[in-house]
């Protein structure tokens, strides 16, 4: 008999919860906190706090710059965190750039592309201009939309996008015309932060390759919640944020295929990213340093490394399975309430744990307020996906998003909140 691999063990919610000090607090006059806003930002377990603290109290110093013992230890800890991040998503450490958040990562790629206009020949493949097209989707978070609009504005390129079906899936029917010889970039989300929809990168990557376009994956909502191997997905670039995966705020990740990072012009410039500097001109270090100007978010990267250790110990398959149960329970329970309309897929098929909905006759802000008064933290608004809401014909929605520390019985509080909102505003 062989031992059961760790990944197969079901998740022990009580044990997990015990690691998150914030979950024991109460809100609004003593109500236990039900935190359903992990899609915006997740909570940090004590292991992450401890790792940051240990670093700050023993080795804190400027990385890659000093020759003393503290600087050595700091550099080691920082690079070790990079290795962990890389391994977690199946890529090499040299392909991992630390940014302040996922948003910076996408901006980095978009600005490097406009910088290619005045960079050397090796950056030629990144150049965009009039006649070129950037393709995104209508379900993007503003972070994977506005930077591309701005790139188009800077360069004269044209922005195009895939539509979304009524049931919240990507409409790929026009893939062959949308992604064409003029396409330079195809940027899309792996998992919608509103709908929960999980997009299969395969057809997009395949088509983009055929026409020589670069692919940029917004993995903000997938990497924290399920096993993801970026190399296997075959995308050229991907981004995600530490604060959505139990890590600290202030640190994000850009993955880029090595040969691309090598050829791409720098974005932020300054110390630590240079090779040679004179007053007249500068040359730049190899990646990832080339893209990490200035003193980096050191303790935060180290905290992210600890967050990844934590997630690996629990097992990403177990995390995904647990969230599937929560999502299933939420979809079923909300589906049973008259006057509640779920936005996005109503089954757990190719779907993650963000459940958005509207309540007939009660504005999302008011639903959220009632929930808040009962201790249930959900998000209301357009969740930084305004065009998607417009497409679905709603100004805003209520979103409950789950993570490994949520227990299935917390779904009852969600349901109770919706019913109370309906009662309070007299729509039932």
């Amino acid at each position: 008999m062989t031992a059961t691999p760790l990944e197969a063990a079901p998740l022990d919610v009580a044990a997990v919860r015990a690691d998150f000090p914030i979950l024991t607090r109460t809100v609004r006059d003593g109500k236990p906190l039900v935190y359903f806003d992990s899609g915006a930002t997740s909570q940090r377990p004590r292991q992450v706090l401890a790792a940051e603290r240990a670093y700050v109290e023993t080795s804190n110093s400027a990385v890659h710059r000093g020759a003393h013992q503290l600087a050595e230890e700091a550099t080691d800890a920082f690079e070790d965190a990079r290795e962990r991040v890389a391994k977690f998503v199946g890529v090499d450490a040299g392909e991992v750039v630390f940014t302040k958040n996922a948003t910076e990562g996408i901006n980095l790629v978009a600005y490097s592309m406009s910088n290619a206009a005045t960079a050397g020949e090796e950056a030629k493949r990144f150049r965009v201009g009039e006649g070129d097209e950037i393709v995104i989707t209508e379900m993007e978070h503003h972070a994977n939309l506005v930077p591309w609009q701005q790139l188009c504005r800077r360069t004269g390129a044209t922005l195009r996008w895939f539509g979304v079906t009524d049931d919240g899936r990507l409409d790929l029917s026009d893939i062959d015309s949308l992604i064409n010889e003029r396409t330079k970039v195809v940027a899309f989300t792996h998992q919608s932060n509103v709908l929960g929809t999980v997009n299969d990168p395969a057809p997009l990557v395949e088509r983009a390759r055929k026409v020589g376009a670069l692919t940029v994956l917004d993995a903000c909502q997938s990497v924290p919640h399920a096993p993801v191997n970026l190399r296997e997905l075959g995308v050229d670039f991907a981004v995600f944020s530490g604060h959505k995966m139990l890590g600290p705020s202030g640190v994000g990740v850009l993955y880029g295929r090595r040969e691309l990072l090598e050829a791409m012009p720098p974005f932020l410039t300054g110390g630590s990213m240079i090779e040679l500097v004179t007053m007249e001109r500068s040359t730049f270090a190899p990646p990832p340093q080339k893209f990490e100007a200035g003193v980096p978010m050191t303790s935060q990267a180290i905290g992210l490394g600890a967050a990844i250790d934590y997630l690996r110990a629990v097992g990403m398959s177990a995390v995904a399975e647990h969230e599937k149960q929560l999502t299933e329970a939420a979809l079923t329970a909300l589906g049973e309430i008259d006057g509640v309309r779920i936005i996005g897929p109503t089954t757990t098929e190719s779907r993650g744990g963000a459940v958005s909905f509207v309540v007939d006759g009660v504005h999302p802000h008011d639903v959220g307020q009632v929930m808040d008064s009962m201790g249930v933290a959900v998000r209301v608004g357009h969740h930084c996906a305004w065009p998607l809401h417009r497409r679905l014909g709603i100004p805003a929605s209520v979103r409950a998003s789950f993570y490994l520390y949520n227990s299935v019985h917390e779904i009852d509080a969600l349901v109770a909140g919706v019913r109370e909102a309906q009662r309070f505003f007299g729509v039932v």
């Binding site: 609004r28 006059d29 504005h363 999302p364 802000h365 008011d366 307020q369 009632v370 808040d372 008064s373 209301v380 608004g381 357009h382 305004w386 809401h389 100004p395 805003a396 309070f424 505003f425």
Partner: protein
């Protein structure tokens, strides 16, 4: 938290039966405001008659707080001298930005005092101020220069 303290009866009444709703012609100034965090929108028009606010008309979509607030606004300023209206605007903004620590003057704010509880919830203050921002901007557009002064709304 006491839901009733925030959603006072007056607020719910105005929300269900908003005053001044519907856009009317003619008008002297107009403004379109949105709340970027939730996508709520409001279009508001002001008609002046000399130094008097002759009419306020509006349309849009939003939560109970923003809808009720613009309804109360209509009651408070229509048929009043512009100066009075601006004084009420200042008083309302002060109340809403007071984090629940400002004692509202019922003589000035009338039904507006019902929003005192909302001031404790920063995320909702924007909702309550949406209509007032629109009113202020519409007055400026109507040529009321002194509407530029006074409380800054953000």
């Amino acid at each position: 938290m006491d839901l009733e303290a925030m959603y006072q009866e007056i607020i719910l009444d105005h929300y269900k039966n908003p005053h001044g709703r519907g856009l009317r012609e003619p008008y002297d100034g107009e403004s379109y405001q949105i709340n970027p965090t939730c996508g709520d929108e409001l279009q508001l028009r002001v008609k002046l008659d000399g130094d008097r606010i002759a009419d306020v008309s509006h349309t849009g979509q939003g939560c109970s707080i923003s809808q009720a607030s613009v309804s109360v606004l209509t009651d408070l300023v229509v048929d009043r001298p512009v100066d009075d209206a601006l004084a009420k605007l200042d008083a309302f903004v002060e109340l809403m930005q007071g984090r629940g620590k400002v004692e509202p003057d019922e003589d000035v704010l009338e039904d507006g005092v019902a929003f005192a509880g909302v001031a404790k919830y920063p995320a909702r203050v924007k909702c309550a101020l949406l209509g007032w921002m629109a009113f202020k901007a519409a007055l400026v557009q109507a040529g009321v220069e002194k509407a530029r002064e006074g409380a800054e709304i953000s």
